[in-house]
Every structure is written in structure tokens, then in C-alpha cells.
């Protein structure tokens, strides 16, 4: 359960912080050449979240692992671009919260950027959000983890490890 300090931190600061983020982020970065939604900063952050969310699922061998992470990030981008504009805006806001140190620290407890934080600390903030008393944090946790999980299990290269033989041949 969140502590009383966290409650105050998120409850009082939350609204003001989100407003600031919205103001700061008015100059929106454009998606990268290979993506519809993710800009270069959010590509890096997503790539850092993937091995935490998919710990125990991704290939061990380093080249295959790097390839898998790239594919998950690309699928994540495709998935977000198929969501409603309202949800896209919320995902965008999540990345904005992660981008700026004060908001990142207030919401996740991470001082270092996500891509520089140790995996255990990233997992710890996701776990706090998972069980948070604030719907906004639980919703953020579910959006991030489900998008990443969907982006991995839609990939036929994930199927062998889970024993899914794939669709049958048509009779």
C-alpha cells in the first residue's frame, strides 16, 4: 500500500504537475521516421521498459534479445496508433511525465531517466503503480504493461517458448 507521504505527494502535487507537463510539452516532438506515434525519446523509454515487463520471456542470447526488443517497440508503436485519440493523448502524457525529472521523480520515484535506471528500480515503480490506491497510476501501469505484453505475444517469435503451435492449416 502507498504510504501517507506518497498519498500527499501524488494527491496534491498530481494535478499541478500534470498541468505543468501539458504546458511544457506543447512543443510536441514528431514521431521518428520509422514510427507513427513514438518520438525518439519515447522509443528509448519504451525500449527500457520492455525487458522489465517481459523479464523471463525475452530470448537470452544478446543479438536475438536486442532484435526482440526492437520488434516489441515497433509493435508498441503500431498498437498505440490504433487506439482512440483520447488514449493516445494519455499515453503521450505518461511519456511526458517520464521525460521531466521533477514529474518523473514525483510519480515514479526515479531520479535517473528510465533508460538509465536499474531494472529493479523500474520494476519497483511498476509494482507500486500496480497496487496504487490512485486509479490514474493503476491505469498507467495497465496501459504500459498490456501494450508491451500485447506487442510481444503478437510476434510469432514469442510462440515457441510458450508452446503455442500457431494457427492450424486450413482443411
Amino acid at each position: 500500500m502507498p504510504t501517507r507521504r506518497q498519498f500527499i505527494k501524488v494527491g496534491i502535487a498530481g494535478a499541478a504537475v500534470l498541468a505543468t507537463v501539458r504546458w511544457l510539452d506543447r512543443s510536441e516532438a514528431a514521431p521518428t521516421a520509422n514510427h507513427r506515434f513514438l518520438d525518439s525519446g519515447s522509443v528509448v523509454m519504451t525500449a527500457a521498459l520492455v525487458p522489465v515487463v517481459l523479464a523471463g520471456s525475452l530470448p537470452e542470447e544478446s543479438a536475438a534479445r536486442a532484435q526482440a526488443i526492437r520488434e516489441v517497440v515497433d509493435a508498441f508503436d503500431r498498437a498505440v496508433s490504433g487506439l482512440s485519440p483520447l488514449v493516445q493523448k494519455e499515453v503521450d502524457q505518461l511519456f511526458s511525465v517520464f521525460r521531466y525529472t521533477p514529474t518523473r521523480f514525483a510519480f515514479t520515484g526515479l531520479w535517473a531517466p528510465i533508460e538509465e535506471a536499474p531494472a529493479a528500480k523500474v520494476a519497483a515503480f511498476l509494482t507500486r503503480w500496480r497496487h496504487s490506491r490512485f486509479e490514474i497510476q493503476r491505469a498507467g501501469y495497465q496501459a504500459l504493461t498490456q501494450l508491451i505484453q500485447a506487442s510481444w505475444y503478437d510476434n510469432p517469435s514469442s510462440w515457441a517458448a510458450i508452446g503455442y503451435p500457431g494457427p492450424p492449416r486450413l482443411p
Binding site: 515487463v53 523479464a55 482512440s84 485519440p85 488514449v87 493503476r138 505484453q149 505475444y153 510476434n155
Partner: protein, 529 residues
């Protein structure tokens, strides 16, 4: 592969089909009746009106896609055939809604379960909502007619293991189960109904009523989102639509204006009210979009020693209504038990947690068995459902889950775990962020009693959006009459699941077919008179 594709063949025969996302200029279309939506309600309506000799135009937000393109892959099917890539959610993100968005609507991607409206539901509609024509006897001929038209009947193959575990577990506990009837012809028991049937065995609107209407000269405008209805006094004079690509966030540059004598809304329980709301349709008693129901559905996962392979075989073949039938309809909330198809993305996003705990369950994917409980909402004063609202012109369903519903969720978790253990499960886990796998019914009972029942802790999904434009004889509480005619607008009807005054307590397709069929026959008669 040599499966004949009725869409490819129909297009070759010269069907009148307009892809609104590709139009290069404004278009005007005139006809007798515009049908908005091509799912269960719109498909049946279009066929009956076209058979009566009326000129019909069908407008569909999703794409026209046929069996050639149904490749049994979640990654292709969800973004292409579902609203918001199968990730539509209620306003607080607590409920994920699976809803079709393609020609054929939900019927193209549903799991083929076919139930007549439960008699107790019809009795409640008569007693509590004052409906006079929705009786078992009056609807029976329409059920029979639609069952005949859509090949609905008993399913001849044995259930897959995922469903048979539901049957065996219930049998051990003395809980009655039944066999689900399905709308299929020549089904090969593949298990991929939710991604579009690659064999055209499922008798969806895509391969039955829509082709029949198009063969009779109807026009289909697809990838077209209706932006508004235009009114003149108490009449609708036109319907305007724009092309839609991908998620539809950016409307196309060219408008399509459809003029007709009569307009039928069949855009589903989120689409239909949202079109009325965004058009500023008269709504003096503010009932449009209210009382929207979902059959909020919760999930229980179990690991078995044997392979379950829930990805293969007819997705739904066994059900139990014990937890509906053993309670009064307006007492504590009841639930229907069924099994869902188990495919990697759906399982991956529905299992709680992340990292190694999540991976441990996914590693035993072939042994994963899943049960679902569909909560019957809308029958009790504490179950008022949700409300469709517009946020930045985008339809959103605000559906707070009441304590009354949460009470049913806890009982559903208990019932499912007990059945899974009775059938021999090694471990059971309610799909809830606070749950951990347990190895006995005793432990499950204690764990479930202690779970917090809260939004975004419990995984809640819905595949049945109903209500929001209730039918009824009192304009203060209903949007349309029992014949589907709008109380305020003379030439507008609603023919879809949004007319239900409550949820059903059963998968809705057959109810929509029967009610829309009867409404359409009446409408054809009055338009021909």
C-alpha cells in the same frame, strides 16, 4: 487456399460498394432507407428492407474484409476488425470492451454463441419496464425464422477441453450445464471465430444478409463514420459521413451525404447513442445514452496437468446458467458461466502482473484453462449501468462498477475456482492484480474473500454492449417505441442492442436478430403502404 470468398465474388458481380476512405470528391447518395451499421441489427434490417423492394444504403465505420484476408492472427484481426484495436475501454479504463468494427460488425468476430432471450429477462421487461410485445410467444416465430436463416442449431462436435472442463467441474458439483447452439454451416472446429472465419462457416452478417441485400441492389458505404444527422423539424433529412482510416481519429476530407425517406440506426450501443448526441437529436427527457449495460465479465485462470489447448476448437460450446437461475432476477446480481477462446495476446494482456511471474504462467500456455463469468447487469435499482458521453467529439462509455456488481464478481471468482478445482486443476488464479496462484479450493476461498474489489485491480472485460436507447412506451424513460421508432423523430428507427432496457443474461446476437427482424418487417410494411 481455395475457399470461395463471397465478398470477392460479389464485388466481381458488380455490387455497389463505396470505400469512403478512398473517395476523391464529395458524394451524394439518395435511397429509400439509410441503415447505419452492418452488424446484427443493420444486417438483418438491410436484407429485409431490400427484399421488400426498398432501395437501401448501408453505412459502416469499419472496412469490408472477407475470408481471403482472415488469417487467424490476432495482430492482424484486432486493429482491423475491432473498435480501437480491441482495446476500447470505459472512461476510467476499468473495463476493456471487445466490439466489432468491420462489415458484419460484431457478428464477423463473435464466438458464434446463440441463445434465445431468456424468458425471465422478457418477463422482467414486461413487469418492470412495461413492454407489451416482447413476449416469448410473440418473439418465437422470429427466433425460429432467424435460426433458420443463420443456420443456428446444436453443435455436433464434442466440446474442446477448455469447455469440457467447465462441464466436468460443474458435473462433479451437481451444477447443471447446457450445450451452446451455434450459427455455423460446415464449421471445421478451428477455434478462430474471433479473428473472422476463414472458411465462411460462421453465418455472420458478412456472408448472409449483407451479400443478400447487395445482390438486391443495396449500396454499401464502408470505412465511413457518420458525423451527424441533419434535421428539419421532427424529421431526419440527411446523414453525413466521412472516410475513416485506421482508428478514425482523422476524418477524411470529403463528405458523403445520404438522403432518404427513413433512417435506421444500428451502430451498436456506443455508436447509436453517440450519433444521436453529436447530432443534437431531440432528447427532452435526457434518456439517450443512459442505462448502457455490459455484462461485466471477470476471468479465472487454471493450470491443468494435461494440455487444454484453448486456442483450438469451437471457442464456446458449454455454459451454465445455474448462478442466474438460482437467484431472483432482481435479487443479488447473477452471472452466466462460459469459457473463452485462449490465444496469446488475449491471454498475455489478461493475466495479471508482469515480468517473471507473468512469464511463468505464459510458459505453460497450452495447459492454461480459462473460465469467464458474465454479470447480468440492469435488473436491480443499484445496477443502472453506464452512460455514453462525448469527449472531444469521441464517444466514451462512463460505466462505474457499483458495489452491487462487485458483490457478484466476488461470488463469480469463488464459483469459477471451485469448478476448476473440481475438474482437477493444479492451480487456480482469479485474474486480479492482487491474486496469487493457489493450489486448493480451501486456499482459493480464503484468498478470494480477501481480494479488494476495485476498478483496475480486478480484470473486467465486456463483449456485449447493450442498452442506451431503450425501447418503451413512455417517452420519459425510453428513446424508441417497442417497434423501434424514435419517440421524437418521425422517420428514425433504432434496430440494434441499444434498445434493450437491461442486459440479457445471455450472449445477445440472436436477440438482436429477432427483434431487428421484426422491427424491419414492420418498417418495410409501413414504408410500402
Amino acid at each position: 487456399m481455395s475457399v470461395p470468398d463471397p465478398i470477392v465474388e460479389g464485388l466481381a458481380r458488380g455490387w455497389k460498394v463505396v470505400d469512403a476512405a478512398l473517395v476523391t470528391r464529395d458524394r451524394d447518395i439518395e435511397c429509400d432507407v439509410v441503415v447505419i451499421g452492418s452488424g446484427a441489427g443493420g444486417g438483418v434490417t438491410a436484407e429485409i428492407l431490400a427484399q421488400a423492394g426498398l432501395s437501401v444504403a448501408i453505412v459502416e465505420e469499419g472496412p469490408l474484409v472477407g475470408s481471403t484476408d482472415f488469417r487467424m492472427r490476432e495482430r492482424e484481426a484486432y486493429p482491423r476488425l475491432y473498435q480501437e484495436s480491441a482495446a476500447r475501454q470505459t472512461a476510467d479504463r476499468a473495463i476493456t470492451i471487445l466490439q466489432g468494427r468491420c462489415v458484419g460488425g460484431g457478428t464477423t468476430v463473435n464466438w458464434t454463441s446463440s441463445f434465445r432471450t431468456p424468458p425471465r429477462t422478457l418477463a422482467h421487461w414486461s413487469g418492470a419496464h412495461g413492454l407489451t410485445t416482447m413476449t416469448e410467444a410473440a418473439l418465437a416465430p422470429w427466433f425460429a425464422k432467424m435460426e433458420e436463416r443463420l443456420g443456428i442449431g446444436p453443435w455436433g462436435m464434442p466440446p474442446n477441453e477448455n469447455n469440457d472442463i467447465l462441464r466436468r467441474g460443474c458435473q462433479k458439483l451437481g451444477i447443471p450445464t447446457g450445450a451452446i447452439r451455434r450459427n455455423v454451416k460446415g464449421c471445421a472446429n478451428l477455434g478462430y471465430c474471433g479473428m473472422g472465419c476463414p472458411l465462411n462457416a460462421k453465418q455472420s452478417m458478412l456472408v448472409t444478409t449483407i451479400p443478400a441485400a447487395l445482390d438486391r441492389g443495396a449500396t454499401l458505404v464502408h470505412r465511413a463514420r457518420v458525423t451527424r444527422l441533419a434535421f428539419d423539424g421532427n424529421r431526419v433529412v440527411a446523414c453525413e459521413a466521412r472516410g475513416v482510416e485506421r482508428n478514425g481519429a482523422a476524418p477524411g476530407a470529403h463528405r458523403i451525404r445520404l438522403r432518404a425517406k427513413h433512417f435506421v440506426l444500428a451502430a451498436g450501443s456506443i455508436g447509436t447513442p453517440s450519433i444521436l448526441l453529436s447530432s443534437g437529436a431531440p432528447d427532452p427527457h435526457r434518456v439517450t445514452g443512459k442505462r448502457t449495460f455490459l455484462h461485466p465479465t471477470v476471468v479465472s485462470g487454471a493450470m491443468f496437468a494435461q494440455k487444454v489447448e484453448g486456442y483450438y476448437g469451437a471457442p464456446q460450446s458449454i455454459y451454465s446458467d445455474h448462478f442466474l437461475d438460482s437467484l431472483p432476477v432482481d435479487g443479488p446480481v447473477g452471472f452466466k458461466l462460459e469459457a473463452p477462446p485462449v490465444h496469446p495476446i488475449l491471454a498475455g494482456i489478461t493475466l495479471p502482473g508482469f515480468g517473471t511471474d507473468h512469464a511463468a504462467w505464459m510458459k505453460r500456455f497450452p495447459n492454461l484453462q480459462v473460465l469467464i463469468a458474465l454479470v447480468r447487469d440492469g435488473f436491480h435499482p443499484e445496477s443502472v449501468g453506464g452512460q455514453v458521453v462525448l469527449k472531444s467529439r469521441w464517444p466514451v462509455l462512463d460505466y462505474p462498477i457499483s458495489d452491487y456488481v462487485w458483490n457478484g464478481v466476488r461470488r463469480a471468482y469463488l464459483a469459477m475456482a471451485e469448478i476448476q478445482f473440481a475438474a482437477g486443476a493444479q492451480t487456480v488464479m482469479p485474474l486480479h492484480e492482487g491474486a496469487i496462484p493457489v493450489t486448493s479450493w480451501r486456499d482459493a476461498k480464503a484468498a478470494i474473500e480477501g481480494l479488494p474489489m476495485r476498478a483496475l485491480h480486478s480484470r473486467v472485460v465486456s463483449a456485449h454492449v447493450m442498452g442506451g436507447c431503450a425501447m418503451g412506451n413512455d417517452a420519459r424513460t425510453a428513446v424508441v417505441t417497442e417497434a423501434g421508432r424514435h419517440h421524437q423523430l418521425a422517420n428514425l428507427s433504432v434496430h440494434d442492442g441499444s434498445v434493450f432496457p437491461t442486459s440479457l443474461g445471455a450472449n445477445p446476437q440472436l436477440t438482436i436478430y429477432a427483434i431487428a427482424g421484426r422491427m424491419a418487417a414492420n418498417l418495410a410494411q409501413s414504408l410500402k403502404a
